[in-house]
Amino acid sequence: MTIFDLGDSAVRELNQALHQSETQGADLRVTNPGGKHNVATGADVECNVTIEGHVGYYCAGMNKSANIVVTGNAGPGLAENMMSGSVRIKGNASQYCGATAHGGLLVIEGDAAARCGISMKGIDIVVGGSIGHMSAFMAQSGRMVVCGDAGEALGDSIYEARIYLRGEAKSLGTDCIEKPMEDEHKAELAELLEQAGIDHSVDEFRRYGSARQLYNFQIDNVSAY
């Protein structure tokens, strides 16, 4: 177990270690993160990182291979543009978590703020609590599971991403509609919940996605914009 105490070492030392092949397969413990920004960004090797405390902006940004756990809360842009690996937040996450992320699994055990999964491009996001407004805005692909409620304009201008919501959405965004829960959807939802370690019946969820009415600009749809 390698320990990085961010109380007396720079974030840069940790991040550089996460870019080096020597760290492959290692277990890293990060103490005293103190809300610092850019903790464990750009991890390029397979390893396990446990961050004990709260982190600031862009924790686990562009994570490629690491499995990262944050025991506290995370600031804006958590796991933005993640490619693969996994990120788990024991507390809550601020706005734009999982933004534009291409792959991997992001689990937020608490709540996620506004614009969760904005422009997501393939990531799977599981939120144990609720999410804020404009979540899954322009979400391109991937899956989002929300065990609580969603704020206003859920899935606005969504493309091919799938949303599974257990609670209520304050409102749906433009071109986002409820869709039937078929067996394939229940199966993938069950798998996502299991991966996230969250126990709910899939029958309690509803599925949302794109009505695909705005995929090609038509002047007759102008009132929708």
């Binding site: 991040n15 960004t41 390029d44 902006y57 933004a99 692909s141 493309y159 002047i219």
Partner: protein, 443 residues
């Protein structure tokens, strides 16, 4: 039989000119605003409105074709461990694969590399063709993040965070469905054939304080190796440049309203932003005000066509310029050899601006494989290199005439303005006077 009339007495309205009438009729017929490529076509004050004062009794010129006139520039000296040095102060601006064919992107890389300068990716990510043929490649970090990934980020020689562009500051883009091939769709994680919106603002930061942290993230991911540029469309340029410096930019790129685009509303292209001429002056003033002129390098773009434009931008205080539309023209865009094909599209060589529709006869702004194959990347790359060399020679010629052994030694004092407007915007005295309208004024 149609009666012939004498048109010499017909008076055209300057408010409702024939092009205006035609556009109203088109809008009424089609029910959608005009979306097009190219840049602003309206008349604005430009570098053409400035003149150089050659050496004379009080200035000593350098010998043309003989005495050395340095053109290389190093960019990214503020924070990056590996600044980049370009052999000419002219770079190729960001243009996307998607908007342009793979052949065109390859040609730009070939041309830039042949003369030792950089080229730039665009929305849609980095293609292997472009990386492979670009000795120095700047990777754009755009709001859509199409194709963005850490591997390509680390392959870049510099990163350009795009806040806006001159053709549409405050606007995003729309790559229309007809240009979404299988490859473009795959690179952007979207289905084939649907319109792809390029967002107008970044998804995970709002404002310069956030951007400062975002830039630190990019530096952490790339181990502080490469320069980070911030590109802004020219609007509130003085403040934007100062905020870019505060956010940690190594290089600031300011793109004037004449800058090109692949697909934007005509109303946006012609009515938003300010010309490159005043933007250049405002950017230099902003850097000097912070004591960061030359510490943070300035690249200006938007309507650069000749070595005269380059030299005047440098004389006003820029470190380098970028070209986009001019590079496309150098490759063959709007070439007379395609006149017949342009006619079939309802236009003519010299007027073609429908980069958005994917039917470009020159094979440049298209994803159609047959059209794309018309562009020979080696030949087009050679043309780009030739053109860059001509611009460089012209710049050197003017610098030598002003007695400068380095093109970046050109200075405002070497120029006068031809018009009151240009004098006020550039803060260069009107020719034959010591008068600068509005000198000392605030923004």
């Amino acid at each position: 039989m149609t009666k012939k009339i004498d048109q010499s007495w017909l008076l055209e309205s300057s408010t409702f000119s024939r092009p205006v009438i035609r556009e109203i009729q088109r809008a009424a017929r089609e029910g959608i605003y005009d979306i097009r490529g190219f840049g602003a076509k309206r008349t604005v004050p430009t570098f053409d409105d400035l003149l150089f004062l050659g050496a004379s009794m009080s200035r000593y010129p350098l010998e043309g074709y003989r005495e050395k006139c340095e053109t290389s520039v190093t960019l990214g000296t503020r924070f990056a461990k590996k600044p980049i040095t370009i052999s000419t102060p002219i770079t190729i601006a960001g243009m996307s694969f998607g908007a342009l064919s793979a052949q065109a992107k390859e040609a730009l890389g070939r041309g830039a590399s042949e003369v030792g300068t950089s080229t730039t990716t665009g929305d849609g990510g980095m293609t292997p063709e472009e990386r492979g043929h670009s000795k120095l490649l700047v990777y754009q970090y755009l709001p859509s993040r199409y194709g963005m990934n850490p591997d390509d980020l680390r392959k870049a020689d510099a990163i350009e965070v795009v806040v806006g562009q001159g053709a549409k500051p405050g606007g995003g883009g729309m790559l229309l469905g007809q240009k979404i091939s299988d490859r473009v769709a795959e690179m952007r994680n979207l289905p084939k054939g649907i319109d792809q919106r390029s967002a107008c603002r970044h998804p995970d930061w709002t404002g310069p304080d956030d951007l400062e942290i975002k830039i630190q993230e990019l530096r952490e991911i790339t181990d502080w190796q490469v320069p980070i540029y911030i590109k802004v469309g020219a609007t509130r340029t003085f403040f934007d440049v100062q905020l870019a410096v505060k956010a940690g930019a190594d290089v600031v790129v300011v793109d004037g309203m004449q800058g090109g685009t692949a697909a934007t509303q005509d109303v946006f292209i012609e009515h938003v932003g300010i010309p490159t001429l005043p933007a250049t002056r405002m950017a230099v003033e902003a850097l000097k005000d912070l004591g960061m002129h030359r510490e943070v390098q300035l690249i200006v773009s938007g309507g650069i066509r000749s070595g005269a434009d380059v030299a005047k931008a440098l004389a006003m205080g820029a470190d380098a310029v970028s070209i986009g539309t001019a590079a496309l023209i150098a490759m063959g865009d709007n070439g007379p050899e395609h006149e017949e094909a342009y006619n079939e599209l309802g236009t003519s060589a010299g007027y073609y601006d429908d980069y958005q529709d994917g039917k470009d006869p020159s094979g440049i702004s298209t994803q159609d494989p047959d059209l794309g194959s018309r562009l020979d990347p080696e030949l087009a790359g050679r043309r780009v290199a030739n053109y860059l060399r001509c611009l460089t020679l012209e710049t050197q010629t003017l610098a030598r005439a002003a007695g400068k052994s380095n093109v970046r030694n050109l200075e405002p004092e070497d120029m006068v303005a031809l018009t009151v407007e240009a004098s006020a915007m550039a803060k260069i005295p009107l020719a034959g006077t010591d008068w600068i309208p509005g000198a000392g004024g605030k923004y």
